[in-house]
Subunit: 213 residues, 2 copies
DNA sequence: GTTGTTACTTACTAACTAGTAAGTAACTCC
DNA sequence: GGAGTTACTTACTAGTTAGTAAGTAACAAC
Protein backbone atom coordinates (compact mmCIF):
# COMPACT_ATOMS: atom_id res chain seq x y z
CA UNK A 1 0.00 0.00 0.00
CA UNK A 2 1.22 3.45 -0.88
CA UNK A 3 0.97 5.65 2.21
CA UNK A 4 3.15 8.35 0.68
CA UNK A 5 1.61 11.69 -0.11
CA UNK A 6 3.18 14.64 -1.85
CA UNK A 7 6.05 15.47 0.51
CA UNK A 8 6.23 18.91 2.02
CA UNK A 9 9.37 20.94 1.23
CA UNK A 10 10.62 20.22 4.72
CA UNK A 11 10.15 16.47 4.22
CA UNK A 12 11.94 16.78 0.93
CA UNK A 13 14.85 18.47 2.61
CA UNK A 14 15.00 15.77 5.23
CA UNK A 15 14.94 12.99 2.70
CA UNK A 16 17.57 14.81 0.65
CA UNK A 17 19.79 14.84 3.73
CA UNK A 18 19.18 11.12 4.11
CA UNK A 19 20.09 10.57 0.48
CA UNK A 20 23.29 12.48 1.03
CA UNK A 21 24.14 10.32 4.02
CA UNK A 22 23.51 7.19 1.99
CA UNK A 23 25.78 8.60 -0.70
CA UNK A 24 28.50 9.11 1.90
CA UNK A 25 28.07 5.51 3.07
CA UNK A 26 28.21 4.09 -0.44
CA UNK A 27 31.22 6.24 -1.35
CA UNK A 28 33.09 5.10 1.74
CA UNK A 29 32.17 1.50 0.95
CA UNK A 30 33.55 1.86 -2.58
CA UNK A 31 36.84 3.23 -1.28
CA UNK A 32 37.09 0.36 1.19
CA UNK A 33 36.14 -2.31 -1.34
CA UNK A 34 38.83 -0.95 -3.64
CA UNK A 35 41.35 -1.13 -0.82
CA UNK A 36 40.44 -4.53 0.66
CA UNK A 37 37.73 -6.17 -1.44
CA UNK A 38 34.15 -6.65 -0.31
CA UNK A 39 35.10 -9.60 1.90
CA UNK A 40 37.91 -7.62 3.50
CA UNK A 41 35.79 -4.54 4.16
CA UNK A 42 33.86 -4.06 7.41
CA UNK A 43 30.79 -2.05 8.33
CA UNK A 44 32.76 -0.53 11.18
CA UNK A 45 35.35 0.80 8.73
CA UNK A 46 32.58 2.35 6.64
CA UNK A 47 31.06 3.90 9.75
CA UNK A 48 34.42 5.32 10.83
CA UNK A 49 34.94 6.96 7.46
CA UNK A 50 31.48 8.49 7.45
CA UNK A 51 31.74 9.52 11.09
CA UNK A 52 28.74 7.66 12.48
CA UNK A 53 28.38 4.37 14.35
CA UNK A 54 28.28 0.93 12.75
CA UNK A 55 24.63 0.59 13.82
CA UNK A 56 24.02 3.88 12.05
CA UNK A 57 25.29 2.33 8.82
CA UNK A 58 23.01 -0.66 9.33
CA UNK A 59 20.09 1.74 9.77
CA UNK A 60 20.59 2.68 6.13
CA UNK A 61 21.54 -0.60 4.49
CA UNK A 62 20.08 -3.27 6.77
CA UNK A 63 22.95 -5.70 6.36
CA UNK A 64 26.33 -6.04 4.72
CA UNK A 65 24.67 -7.61 1.73
CA UNK A 66 22.29 -4.65 1.60
CA UNK A 67 25.29 -2.35 1.40
CA UNK A 68 26.57 -4.36 -1.55
CA UNK A 69 23.19 -3.98 -3.24
CA UNK A 70 23.34 -0.21 -2.73
CA UNK A 71 26.84 -0.07 -4.19
CA UNK A 72 25.75 -2.05 -7.24
CA UNK A 73 22.62 0.01 -7.68
CA UNK A 74 24.52 3.24 -7.45
CA UNK A 75 27.26 2.29 -9.88
CA UNK A 76 26.01 -0.22 -12.38
CA UNK A 77 22.27 -0.02 -12.79
CA UNK A 78 22.13 2.80 -15.26
CA UNK A 79 21.95 3.16 -19.00
CA UNK A 80 25.01 1.77 -20.72
CA UNK A 81 27.40 3.47 -23.08
CA UNK A 82 26.66 0.71 -25.59
CA UNK A 83 22.97 1.57 -25.70
CA UNK A 84 23.70 5.30 -25.89
CA UNK A 85 26.13 4.76 -28.75
CA UNK A 86 23.93 2.39 -30.70
CA UNK A 87 20.88 4.64 -30.37
CA UNK A 88 22.71 7.20 -32.51
CA UNK A 89 22.37 4.79 -35.43
CA UNK A 90 18.70 4.06 -34.90
CA UNK A 91 15.95 5.81 -36.82
CA UNK A 92 15.97 9.42 -35.68
CA UNK A 93 19.54 9.16 -34.36
CA UNK A 94 22.37 11.43 -35.45
CA UNK A 95 24.01 8.71 -37.56
CA UNK A 96 20.84 7.12 -38.94
CA UNK A 97 21.63 5.01 -41.97
CA UNK A 98 25.30 4.56 -41.07
CA UNK A 99 26.69 1.49 -39.27
CA UNK A 100 28.37 1.58 -35.87
CA UNK A 101 32.11 0.91 -35.71
CA UNK A 102 33.73 -1.26 -33.05
CA UNK A 103 36.95 0.78 -32.59
CA UNK A 104 34.92 3.95 -32.25
CA UNK A 105 32.70 2.38 -29.62
CA UNK A 106 35.77 1.14 -27.76
CA UNK A 107 37.31 4.61 -27.74
CA UNK A 108 34.10 5.91 -26.20
CA UNK A 109 34.25 3.28 -23.48
CA UNK A 110 37.93 3.97 -22.78
CA UNK A 111 37.33 7.70 -22.54
CA UNK A 112 34.45 7.17 -20.14
CA UNK A 113 36.35 4.68 -17.98
CA UNK A 114 39.43 6.89 -17.96
CA UNK A 115 37.44 9.54 -16.12
CA UNK A 116 36.24 7.08 -13.46
CA UNK A 117 39.23 5.09 -12.17
CA UNK A 118 37.51 4.40 -8.86
CA UNK A 119 34.57 2.85 -10.66
CA UNK A 120 36.85 0.78 -12.89
CA UNK A 121 38.69 -0.53 -9.86
CA UNK A 122 35.43 -1.35 -8.14
CA UNK A 123 34.34 -3.30 -11.18
CA UNK A 124 37.59 -5.27 -11.24
CA UNK A 125 37.33 -6.03 -7.52
CA UNK A 126 33.70 -7.13 -7.50
CA UNK A 127 33.96 -8.94 -10.81
CA UNK A 128 36.93 -10.94 -9.55
CA UNK A 129 35.32 -11.80 -6.23
CA UNK A 130 32.25 -12.80 -8.25
CA UNK A 131 34.27 -15.44 -10.10
CA UNK A 132 33.65 -17.65 -7.08
CA UNK A 133 30.31 -19.42 -7.01
CA UNK A 134 30.21 -18.47 -3.31
CA UNK A 135 29.93 -14.79 -4.15
CA UNK A 136 26.45 -13.25 -3.93
CA UNK A 137 27.33 -11.43 -7.15
CA UNK A 138 28.33 -14.55 -9.09
CA UNK A 139 25.20 -14.73 -11.24
CA UNK A 140 24.89 -10.98 -11.56
CA UNK A 141 28.36 -10.57 -13.06
CA UNK A 142 28.06 -13.69 -15.19
CA UNK A 143 24.85 -12.37 -16.72
CA UNK A 144 26.52 -9.03 -17.22
CA UNK A 145 29.51 -10.61 -18.93
CA UNK A 146 27.27 -12.62 -21.21
CA UNK A 147 25.07 -9.66 -22.05
CA UNK A 148 27.89 -7.34 -23.05
CA UNK A 149 29.41 -9.80 -25.50
CA UNK A 150 26.45 -11.63 -26.93
CA UNK A 151 25.49 -10.18 -30.27
CA UNK A 152 22.50 -7.92 -30.12
CA UNK A 153 20.33 -9.17 -32.96
CA UNK A 154 19.55 -5.83 -34.57
CA UNK A 155 23.05 -4.33 -34.43
CA UNK A 156 24.91 -4.32 -37.70
CA UNK A 157 28.54 -3.56 -36.85
CA UNK A 158 30.63 -2.34 -39.73
CA UNK A 159 33.72 -4.59 -39.92
CA UNK A 160 36.22 -5.61 -42.60
CA UNK A 161 35.65 -8.71 -44.73
CA UNK A 162 36.60 -11.87 -42.90
CA UNK A 163 36.32 -10.35 -39.41
CA UNK A 164 33.74 -11.73 -36.98
CA UNK A 165 32.21 -8.68 -35.29
CA UNK A 166 31.19 -10.56 -32.15
CA UNK A 167 34.67 -11.97 -31.69
CA UNK A 168 36.23 -8.59 -32.34
CA UNK A 169 34.14 -7.01 -29.58
CA UNK A 170 34.72 -9.91 -27.24
CA UNK A 171 38.47 -9.76 -27.76
CA UNK A 172 38.65 -5.96 -27.55
CA UNK A 173 36.70 -5.92 -24.28
CA UNK A 174 38.91 -8.66 -22.83
CA UNK A 175 42.00 -6.63 -23.74
CA UNK A 176 40.38 -3.51 -22.30
CA UNK A 177 39.66 -5.32 -19.06
CA UNK A 178 43.25 -6.53 -18.85
CA UNK A 179 44.65 -3.09 -19.55
CA UNK A 180 42.33 -1.49 -17.01
CA UNK A 181 43.62 -3.85 -14.34
CA UNK A 182 47.18 -2.71 -15.00
CA UNK A 183 46.11 0.91 -15.09
CA UNK A 184 44.30 0.99 -11.74
CA UNK A 185 47.19 -0.88 -10.13
CA UNK A 186 49.75 1.62 -11.48
CA UNK A 187 47.90 4.80 -12.46
CA UNK A 188 51.06 6.94 -12.34
CA UNK A 189 52.93 4.63 -14.68
CA UNK A 190 50.27 3.87 -17.26
CA UNK A 191 48.50 6.32 -19.55
CA UNK A 192 45.35 4.36 -20.19
CA UNK A 193 44.01 6.10 -23.34
CA UNK A 194 47.52 6.30 -24.82
CA UNK A 195 48.03 2.58 -24.21
CA UNK A 196 44.66 1.85 -25.69
CA UNK A 197 45.51 3.68 -28.89
CA UNK A 198 48.51 1.36 -29.23
CA UNK A 199 46.25 -1.62 -28.56
CA UNK A 200 44.04 -0.33 -31.36
CA UNK A 201 46.89 -0.76 -33.82
CA UNK A 202 47.10 -4.41 -32.80
CA UNK A 203 43.39 -5.15 -32.51
CA UNK A 204 42.31 -3.16 -35.56
CA UNK A 205 45.44 -2.99 -37.71
CA UNK A 206 45.66 -0.90 -40.84
CA UNK A 207 45.20 -1.32 -43.71
CA UNK A 208 42.76 -4.14 -42.83
CA UNK A 209 40.53 -1.85 -40.77
CA UNK A 210 40.92 1.21 -43.03
CA UNK A 211 37.54 2.90 -43.09
CA UNK A 212 36.18 0.73 -40.28
CA UNK A 213 37.81 2.56 -37.36
CA UNK B 1 75.01 -21.59 10.98
CA UNK B 2 74.26 -24.75 9.13
CA UNK B 3 73.44 -27.45 11.67
CA UNK B 4 71.98 -29.74 9.02
CA UNK B 5 73.78 -32.96 8.24
CA UNK B 6 72.94 -35.55 5.65
CA UNK B 7 69.48 -36.59 6.80
CA UNK B 8 68.91 -40.23 7.62
CA UNK B 9 66.24 -41.99 5.53
CA UNK B 10 63.95 -41.80 8.53
CA UNK B 11 64.49 -38.06 8.84
CA UNK B 12 63.88 -37.74 5.15
CA UNK B 13 60.61 -39.58 5.54
CA UNK B 14 59.62 -37.30 8.38
CA UNK B 15 60.48 -34.17 6.54
CA UNK B 16 58.68 -35.56 3.52
CA UNK B 17 55.60 -36.00 5.71
CA UNK B 18 55.99 -32.41 6.85
CA UNK B 19 56.30 -31.27 3.25
CA UNK B 20 53.14 -33.14 2.43
CA UNK B 21 51.33 -31.45 5.31
CA UNK B 22 52.52 -28.07 4.10
CA UNK B 23 51.27 -28.98 0.64
CA UNK B 24 47.87 -29.79 2.12
CA UNK B 25 47.83 -26.44 3.91
CA UNK B 26 48.81 -24.49 0.81
CA UNK B 27 46.29 -26.38 -1.34
CA UNK B 28 43.51 -25.67 1.11
CA UNK B 29 44.56 -22.02 1.22
CA UNK B 30 44.41 -21.81 -2.57
CA UNK B 31 40.89 -23.25 -2.63
CA UNK B 32 39.80 -20.79 0.03
CA UNK B 33 41.47 -17.79 -1.61
CA UNK B 34 39.70 -18.72 -4.85
CA UNK B 35 36.39 -18.89 -3.01
CA UNK B 36 36.69 -15.78 -0.81
CA UNK B 37 39.90 -13.94 -1.65
CA UNK B 38 42.91 -13.72 0.64
CA UNK B 39 41.24 -11.13 2.84
CA UNK B 40 38.12 -13.24 3.13
CA UNK B 41 39.97 -16.44 3.98
CA UNK B 42 40.77 -17.46 7.57
CA UNK B 43 43.43 -19.68 9.09
CA UNK B 44 40.66 -21.55 10.91
CA UNK B 45 39.02 -22.43 7.60
CA UNK B 46 42.34 -23.71 6.28
CA UNK B 47 42.83 -25.77 9.43
CA UNK B 48 39.32 -27.23 9.15
CA UNK B 49 39.95 -28.33 5.57
CA UNK B 50 43.26 -29.94 6.43
CA UNK B 51 41.86 -31.52 9.59
CA UNK B 52 44.21 -29.96 12.14
CA UNK B 53 43.89 -27.00 14.51
CA UNK B 54 44.42 -23.38 13.58
CA UNK B 55 47.52 -23.32 15.80
CA UNK B 56 48.74 -26.32 13.82
CA UNK B 57 48.55 -24.26 10.66
CA UNK B 58 50.47 -21.44 12.32
CA UNK B 59 53.15 -23.96 13.30
CA UNK B 60 53.88 -24.32 9.58
CA UNK B 61 53.44 -20.82 8.27
CA UNK B 62 54.04 -18.56 11.29
CA UNK B 63 51.41 -16.00 10.34
CA UNK B 64 48.71 -15.33 7.78
CA UNK B 65 51.21 -13.36 5.77
CA UNK B 66 53.55 -16.34 5.96
CA UNK B 67 50.84 -18.49 4.45
CA UNK B 68 50.54 -16.03 1.60
CA UNK B 69 54.29 -16.24 1.05
CA UNK B 70 54.08 -20.04 0.91
CA UNK B 71 51.24 -19.85 -1.60
CA UNK B 72 53.20 -17.47 -3.78
CA UNK B 73 56.37 -19.53 -3.50
CA UNK B 74 54.56 -22.71 -4.40
CA UNK B 75 52.77 -21.30 -7.40
CA UNK B 76 54.72 -18.48 -8.93
CA UNK B 77 58.39 -18.71 -8.08
CA UNK B 78 59.42 -21.12 -10.76
CA UNK B 79 60.85 -20.94 -14.26
CA UNK B 80 58.45 -19.27 -16.64
CA UNK B 81 57.01 -20.55 -19.88
CA UNK B 82 58.46 -17.48 -21.56
CA UNK B 83 62.01 -18.40 -20.56
CA UNK B 84 61.48 -22.04 -21.54
CA UNK B 85 60.12 -21.01 -24.92
CA UNK B 86 62.79 -18.46 -25.66
CA UNK B 87 65.59 -20.81 -24.67
CA UNK B 88 64.65 -22.98 -27.66
CA UNK B 89 65.89 -20.18 -29.90
CA UNK B 90 69.16 -19.63 -28.09
CA UNK B 91 72.42 -21.14 -29.24
CA UNK B 92 72.10 -24.88 -28.73
CA UNK B 93 68.29 -24.72 -28.62
CA UNK B 94 66.04 -26.72 -30.90
CA UNK B 95 65.12 -23.68 -33.02
CA UNK B 96 68.54 -21.99 -33.03
CA UNK B 97 68.75 -19.43 -35.78
CA UNK B 98 64.97 -19.01 -36.09
CA UNK B 99 62.98 -16.21 -34.42
CA UNK B 100 60.28 -16.77 -31.80
CA UNK B 101 56.68 -16.04 -32.81
CA UNK B 102 54.22 -14.25 -30.54
CA UNK B 103 51.08 -16.24 -31.48
CA UNK B 104 52.96 -19.49 -30.94
CA UNK B 105 54.12 -18.37 -27.53
CA UNK B 106 50.59 -17.33 -26.63
CA UNK B 107 49.23 -20.73 -27.62
CA UNK B 108 51.77 -22.33 -25.31
CA UNK B 109 50.66 -20.11 -22.45
CA UNK B 110 46.98 -20.81 -23.11
CA UNK B 111 47.55 -24.57 -23.24
CA UNK B 112 49.46 -24.45 -19.99
CA UNK B 113 46.90 -22.27 -18.23
CA UNK B 114 44.04 -24.37 -19.55
CA UNK B 115 45.37 -27.32 -17.57
CA UNK B 116 45.55 -25.30 -14.33
CA UNK B 117 42.27 -23.44 -13.83
CA UNK B 118 42.78 -23.29 -10.08
CA UNK B 119 46.12 -21.56 -10.56
CA UNK B 120 44.64 -19.15 -13.08
CA UNK B 121 41.87 -18.24 -10.66
CA UNK B 122 44.39 -17.76 -7.87
CA UNK B 123 46.36 -15.41 -10.05
CA UNK B 124 43.26 -13.38 -10.89
CA UNK B 125 42.25 -13.19 -7.22
CA UNK B 126 45.66 -12.20 -5.85
CA UNK B 127 46.45 -9.90 -8.76
CA UNK B 128 43.18 -8.04 -8.25
CA UNK B 129 43.60 -7.71 -4.49
CA UNK B 130 47.13 -6.51 -5.24
CA UNK B 131 45.78 -3.56 -7.24
CA UNK B 132 45.30 -1.83 -3.89
CA UNK B 133 48.41 -0.21 -2.46
CA UNK B 134 47.30 -1.68 0.87
CA UNK B 135 47.94 -5.21 -0.35
CA UNK B 136 51.20 -6.86 0.76
CA UNK B 137 51.46 -8.16 -2.81
CA UNK B 138 51.08 -4.77 -4.48
CA UNK B 139 54.73 -4.33 -5.42
CA UNK B 140 55.24 -8.00 -6.19
CA UNK B 141 52.46 -8.10 -8.78
CA UNK B 142 53.35 -4.70 -10.21
CA UNK B 143 56.92 -5.87 -10.77
CA UNK B 144 55.60 -9.05 -12.28
CA UNK B 145 53.29 -7.17 -14.62
CA UNK B 146 56.11 -4.89 -15.72
CA UNK B 147 58.54 -7.76 -16.20
CA UNK B 148 56.28 -9.83 -18.41
CA UNK B 149 55.59 -7.00 -20.83
CA UNK B 150 58.82 -5.05 -20.90
CA UNK B 151 60.84 -6.02 -23.93
CA UNK B 152 63.69 -8.34 -23.14
CA UNK B 153 66.64 -6.77 -24.86
CA UNK B 154 67.99 -9.88 -26.57
CA UNK B 155 64.68 -11.28 -27.84
CA UNK B 156 64.00 -10.75 -31.49
CA UNK B 157 60.31 -11.53 -32.03
CA UNK B 158 59.33 -12.26 -35.57
CA UNK B 159 56.42 -9.94 -36.45
CA UNK B 160 54.93 -8.48 -39.62
CA UNK B 161 56.08 -5.13 -40.97
CA UNK B 162 54.52 -2.24 -39.12
CA UNK B 163 53.66 -4.26 -35.99
CA UNK B 164 55.25 -3.32 -32.66
CA UNK B 165 56.19 -6.62 -31.02
CA UNK B 166 56.08 -5.24 -27.49
CA UNK B 167 52.61 -3.82 -28.00
CA UNK B 168 51.44 -7.04 -29.62
CA UNK B 169 52.53 -9.06 -26.57
CA UNK B 170 51.13 -6.50 -24.17
CA UNK B 171 47.77 -6.50 -25.93
CA UNK B 172 47.63 -10.27 -26.34
CA UNK B 173 48.39 -10.83 -22.65
CA UNK B 174 45.75 -8.30 -21.64
CA UNK B 175 43.18 -10.10 -23.79
CA UNK B 176 44.32 -13.44 -22.38
CA UNK B 177 43.86 -12.13 -18.86
CA UNK B 178 40.39 -10.87 -19.66
CA UNK B 179 39.39 -14.14 -21.29
CA UNK B 180 40.77 -16.15 -18.39
CA UNK B 181 38.63 -14.17 -15.99
CA UNK B 182 35.51 -15.12 -17.94
CA UNK B 183 36.63 -18.70 -18.21
CA UNK B 184 37.24 -19.33 -14.50
CA UNK B 185 33.94 -17.64 -13.66
CA UNK B 186 32.03 -19.84 -16.14
CA UNK B 187 34.18 -22.89 -16.92
CA UNK B 188 31.20 -24.94 -18.17
CA UNK B 189 30.17 -22.27 -20.61
CA UNK B 190 33.51 -21.20 -22.04
CA UNK B 191 35.99 -23.33 -23.93
CA UNK B 192 39.13 -21.39 -23.20
CA UNK B 193 41.48 -22.69 -25.95
CA UNK B 194 38.66 -22.56 -28.52
CA UNK B 195 37.88 -18.98 -27.58
CA UNK B 196 41.54 -18.11 -27.74
CA UNK B 197 41.84 -19.43 -31.26
CA UNK B 198 39.06 -17.00 -32.23
CA UNK B 199 40.91 -14.23 -30.42
CA UNK B 200 43.96 -15.16 -32.49
CA UNK B 201 42.06 -14.29 -35.67
CA UNK B 202 41.43 -10.84 -34.26
CA UNK B 203 44.82 -10.23 -32.65
CA UNK B 204 46.90 -11.78 -35.43
CA UNK B 205 44.66 -11.57 -38.50
CA UNK B 206 45.54 -13.16 -41.78
CA UNK B 207 46.91 -12.33 -44.26
CA UNK B 208 48.87 -9.74 -42.23
CA UNK B 209 50.33 -12.37 -39.88
CA UNK B 210 50.80 -15.05 -42.56
CA UNK B 211 54.05 -16.79 -41.77
CA UNK B 212 54.35 -15.09 -38.38
CA UNK B 213 51.89 -17.30 -36.48
C1' DG C 1 -0.05 18.87 21.60
C1' DT C 2 -0.22 14.30 20.67
C1' DT C 3 1.20 10.84 17.43
C1' DG C 4 4.36 9.05 14.24
C1' DT C 5 8.61 9.01 11.71
C1' DT C 6 13.40 9.68 10.92
C1' DA C 7 18.08 9.37 12.02
C1' DC C 8 20.50 8.04 14.61
C1' DT C 9 23.04 6.28 19.56
C1' DT C 10 24.34 3.09 23.32
C1' DA C 11 24.65 -1.34 24.78
C1' DC C 12 24.86 -5.85 23.84
C1' DT C 13 25.59 -10.73 21.84
C1' DA C 14 27.60 -14.67 19.75
C1' DA C 15 30.75 -15.87 16.65
C1' DC C 16 35.06 -15.35 14.68
C1' DT C 17 39.90 -13.23 13.98
C1' DA C 18 45.18 -13.71 14.14
C1' DG C 19 48.42 -14.78 17.20
C1' DT C 20 50.85 -16.58 21.76
C1' DA C 21 52.27 -19.76 25.31
C1' DA C 22 52.80 -23.88 27.21
C1' DG C 23 52.38 -28.30 26.93
C1' DT C 24 52.97 -33.43 24.96
C1' DA C 25 53.63 -37.67 22.30
C1' DA C 26 56.50 -39.49 18.83
C1' DC C 27 60.52 -39.79 16.91
C1' DT C 28 65.91 -38.99 15.94
C1' DC C 29 70.55 -38.58 17.36
C1' DC C 30 74.35 -40.21 19.54
C1' DG D 1 68.74 -43.95 27.66
C1' DG D 2 69.08 -39.02 27.76
C1' DA D 3 68.84 -34.74 24.86
C1' DG D 4 66.90 -32.51 21.28
C1' DT D 5 63.66 -31.83 17.53
C1' DT D 6 59.31 -32.16 15.18
C1' DA D 7 54.52 -31.90 14.80
C1' DC D 8 51.34 -30.94 16.68
C1' DT D 9 47.33 -29.89 20.74
C1' DT D 10 44.89 -27.28 24.38
C1' DA D 11 44.04 -23.11 26.33
C1' DC D 12 44.03 -18.50 26.09
C1' DT D 13 44.01 -13.33 24.78
C1' DA D 14 42.64 -9.13 22.80
C1' DG D 15 40.44 -7.37 19.13
C1' DT D 16 36.97 -7.48 15.42
C1' DT D 17 32.80 -9.15 13.01
C1' DA D 18 27.72 -8.72 11.57
C1' DG D 19 23.64 -8.06 13.58
C1' DT D 20 19.86 -6.97 17.36
C1' DA D 21 17.28 -4.38 20.73
C1' DA D 22 16.06 -0.59 22.99
C1' DG D 23 16.43 3.75 23.50
C1' DT D 24 16.32 9.21 22.28
C1' DA D 25 16.34 13.85 20.28
C1' DA D 26 14.60 16.33 16.41
C1' DC D 27 11.29 17.10 13.51
C1' DA D 28 6.58 16.56 10.77
C1' DA D 29 1.61 15.83 10.37
C1' DC D 30 -2.68 17.02 11.67
Amino acid sequence: MDTQKTPTPAAKKRSAAAQERLDQIVSAAVRLINARGFNGMSLQAVADEVGITQAGVLHYVGSKHGLLVEVIRRYYDRSSTLDDYLSLFHPGGAFEGQSPKIPEYCRLLVAENNSQPELVMLFQMLNTEAMSTESPLHEYFNDRSRGVIEPEPDVNWSVPEGIDATEAISCALAAMYGLEGRWVARPDEIDYPAEWSKFEDILFPLPLWEGYR
